[in-house]
Amino acid sequence: MPELPQSLKQALSLVQKPGRYTGGEPGCICKDAAAVDVRMAFCFPDTYEIGMSFLGMKILYELLNAHENWWCERCFLPWVDMKAEMERLGIPLYALESKDPLTAFDIVGFSLEYELCYTNVLAMLRLAGIPLRAAERDGRWPLIIAGGPCVCNAEPMADFFDAMQLGEGEEMLQSICAAVEAAKKHGWSRERLLRELAAIPGVYVPAFYDVEYEADGRFKAIRPNRPGVPPKVTRAIVRDLDSIPPPRDFVVPMVGAVQDRACVEVLRGCVRGCRFCQAGQIYRPFRERSPAVISESARALCQNTGYDELSLSSLSTSDHSRLEEILDAVNAWAPGEHVSLSLPSLRVDNFSRSLVEKTTRVRKSGLTFAPEAGTQRLRDVINKNVTWEQLERTCRIAFSQGYTAVKLYFMMGLPTETLEDIKGIADTCQKVVDLYYSLDHAKGRGVQVTASVACFVPKPWTPFQFCAQDRREALREKQRYLLSCVRSRKVKVNYHDSATSVLEGVFAKGDRRLGRVIEAAFEAGACYDTWEEFFDYDRWLAAFAACGLDPDFYNYRPLGVEEPAPWDHLDAGVSRRYLAREYQKALRAEPSPPCNRQCSGCGADKLLGRPCF
């Protein structure tokens, strides 16, 4: 085993949890760097603990490393103490498997999972000694690419990447690696490589498009600036999930990851069509894996990793049409192999006693549900098809099974919201408390209902992309009012400060000019923005001012139904017409049925090339 370099040993001796920076975890893949043709550093722009909980990385890690002549390694943002030591000691950011600096790689790929990680991306590039802007890099630098849900509005980060992937990476990223392999073999220029990449379904090469703005600053158009570049980039999807089985092995973190268990993705997409939810729109259409594939992969995964807890993940696992079959298949082997099953995101509307019984380890202490809004009217507006009766029935089952804590997720700042709806949040919680005491319950055991209230952020590719975000003052007012409505100590309200949501809203709907703001804020010290203790709103405001841009322009202004948007050259699947239609229905508080009951004609079926159901 190679000895760690002295400088790295020095840094490790000075930081908390050094095991985050050493690699070597069970399941990690080491190859001979000299013997492979393509080296990719898969970068997650957040801490090890968060990144190692991310399933997407595990999927792509296994797929890429299955190619004998490619080597995919992992890299995370070091925590503050380690980052400072690396800067002080001149240790460039390295990938965990080989400990080689990122500059030694052919491809450096970032996963953009949320808007507030944008400065973390710049911090990682800087720590690696790589110029931030694509325009400053020639073919001697690694190809810097991105993927993940944030690419559905790629513009705010477009200046920093050579290529961005819209959609699912399984096939797309393999095509990119193949193109890089060919480029190295044939000595292609960076321009030539980028042209090849632009031809891969789902790949967006920002430098090949020019943006125009109106005199008043509104976005006008984005067009290719070279022949042969597609005017619209269409999201790539895996049509048949069974054709790409889930990972059979994970790199098993030793320093506790947030999600530290075996995990199999059972379906992709969501049939619900909640109007606030970007994931529910941009992962369409709904596709399922078959029970046999799921059970067999899960078993292999548990055997290979030694995990004793298995979770079946997706946006909405209980919507799998053959869920009971999956549970039966898994339960046929799991107990004998000391594996227990947990189901995340159970839905209020199809939570059944039999499901509870089939999940062998549901932590009896806590249960979570997401009604999202406090009144039926507002739930109809956002198309969250959950009724009080369903919630009551679910809580009844849960309480009878011994649960004593319920966590309810809500949002605040939703379109058409009034104080009545805010009061509804407190009332809903109180009704759950009252229900508990109306039933037989163990003597002396009280109930705890926690309302976790997030600030709603309008996102592109949702029917609410047309809405303006609620102002901070209004949200604060609503938070105060909510607290005044809570009368019982059994009800606890958690909410977050809205400053980060403001920034999230600006980036979500922002245009390419924001790249300058992100860079200016980063140069002024912005990083770790998801961590409240490091988030400095004033620093961001100063960066906007320095760039002559007004953040309010992006998130506090409604988007016209016909108005051009900075993501118009991308096609995530759902059509603008459908989104506008859903928006109008929302304003009338009219719900829409889930896809498996009735198609709403969103347009995502074209990605599949056949009807969804």
């Binding site: 002295q6 020095q10 050094p18 030793m254």
Partner: protein
Amino acid sequence: MTTVRIFFEKQGEAAYVSLLDLQRVFHRALKRSGLPVWYTEGFNPHIYLAFCSPLPLGQESVCESCDVKTAAEPPYGAAWAAALQPCMPGGITVTGAAAAVHKAGEVAAARYAITLPAAAAPALAAYNAAGSVPAEKKTKRGARVVELKAAVPALSWQGRGDTLRLETTLPCASDGENLNPALLLGALQTLAGEAGAAFAPWQCRILRTALLLPDGTPFC
């Protein structure tokens, strides 16, 4: 039920694997191996395992061990080691497994090979010359001063290029006297500072080479 002692090395990057993390690593490796180890009874059964005199974070060892229970007959040896190795992180090498001869509580001392930068020589000489070398030992019940010279009256070392290597035996009883080699290293650093030849902990390597019984024979 037999107690099987699994011996392993913990070196290089594995030095940064904490005891808590190591427990999880072994739990998973044992589970994955399918070896017939004993699970605790109860609502949430888990594999019984216990580490003998586990190493502090950052130190390395060629003589760590983990006890499990089994109803299976011996031999365990190479077959068990081979079954466990694939699930181990880099730096952990399973060297063998055998029915435990001694009880974990019988460990009295540990032997260490410590590598220091050559600049540490004056500090080592100062240690030998000093009448007393006190060190503050932090325990759960508060700090307490121990006399290092009582445990290690003198150090002898050999130069190797730009490093020095010394070997020493320190008390290592699980429920009695116990001296972390980092304490000795800390005292040497203080002496080095006084001698105007400072060195840093990361320039040193602490390798545990053996666990010993009261009579000085190896624990196994």
